[in-house]
Symmetry: D2
Subunit: 137 residues, 4 copies
């Protein structure tokens, strides 16, 4: 389970320093995660059970600059699973030379809307994610 989403760097992504702004990368990452959930039809089972993924941490390393006109590829996959949380690994590559632009770990907890608290992942979903992680190693 690996989603690849392409984003072309446009004039409005660029900031004072003539490269893609930090905050834009978080939108690029969010775009990649929505595309991942679309492609693998993931996330719906959570919603049906009154649960939701709540982002609790984003740790992003900026490795090289991206400039106007560059075509980026956002890669998104499951990377780690805990009792109540998952971590997705996202990497952004510059397709020009396959250089690494940024890499991020995005950690979610499974959140119950009724309990207003983090709860253990449903077993079936946990199993699906564990398999996805195992098969990608």
């Amino acid at each position: 389970m690996l989603n690849r989403t392409k984003i072309k760097v446009r004039g409005y992504h660029i900031d004072l320093f003539q490269h893609v702004n930090n905050a834009r990368y978080l939108e690029f990452l969010e775009e990649g995660r929505w595309a991942f959930f679309d492609e693998f039809n993931a996330g719906n089972e959570l919603i049906e059970q009154g649960l939701a993924w709540a982002v609790v941490n984003i740790n992003i390393n900026f490795r090289s600059e991206a400039s106007f006109g560059d075509l980026l590829e956002v890669q998104t996959r499951y990377a780690k699973i805990g009792n109540r949380s998952i971590t997705m690994k996202q990497t952004i590559l510059n397709t020009k030379n396959q250089s690494l632009v940024a890499e991020a770990d995005v950690t979610y907890v499974c959140f119950s809307k009724t309990l207003k608290a983090a709860v253990p992942l449903p077993d079936e979903l946990k199993h699906t994610i564990e398999q996805a992680i195992a098969s990608s190693e």
Copy 2:
């Protein structure tokens, strides 16, 4: 009824052309309108009656560029009133030399959430806005 809101141009407001991006001005205008509604405690009477302002048109002229570090002032006021609509006039000045950066007309209709259609403005609100426009001319 005139609200003045200050915004300092930061690195993330700037785009490829080293000036404030077009789309950012719409956020600056929205910031100005929220501040207007806060200052004059306006808009609440609408919500209580199941109504909402829905933006139907924005017509914005870009008069001069704004650059990193400039301190802008967004001025917001009521400008026109119709049976089902109002138009707010917003101007953005550069406080450095009082030059005009942008000016916009933002037109709302009074929208009923239950009818899902534009409806006439409540009389009391119409009266308040008419007075505000008259006194500012």
Copy 3:
């Protein structure tokens, strides 16, 4: 010369009112114009002559709401030409039912970086754009 660019509405495009935020539409329009310039390899001849398009007016009508998950199509074309200016017509359709979401006229002047003033369009470019407009009517 008509560019069609698809944009899927994601969670970060949505605002307090659970529809796409006004300012986002200006980014969608800018995305469409960059894609237009890419597709038709337009704009480069300007840059080579020390000229640039400077946006002087955007007039946007919001016709219907777009919501999370909708797939939008931004259509971009030349619509009008003056001595020193062009107007592009952009329409945003919801592919779900082909309803009109927004339509905008975006007016540029041809700007000389050395003169720091609007100047007449180069003849060759003017001719190309006139033909594009004529053939699309």
Copy 4:
């Protein structure tokens, strides 16, 4: 050296989940850092020496949601210093109840534009930052 910057949560900061979007927090943090550099007149000495701060990592924890109308305070300070890098600690508080909304470590390297590489911090600047960190503990 602690900068406090207030930001009121507006309609355009909110996303599908009716709270402030992840990417917006990075803009709030950037706003706080610009305000910090303004307040303490920091950063200019770098630019004069052909150096720049380049962000290499942002690690942000989301502790509680912020909603429409909340007044946030972004607190920014120096937290750590290395030979070629500094880390700023930023916390975002909800002034309603002083609850912690988010906290982030933002790490910069000192980057030479001519060498296109990370270089040691100038001694004087290093000393200033060390004192700022020591006095805030």
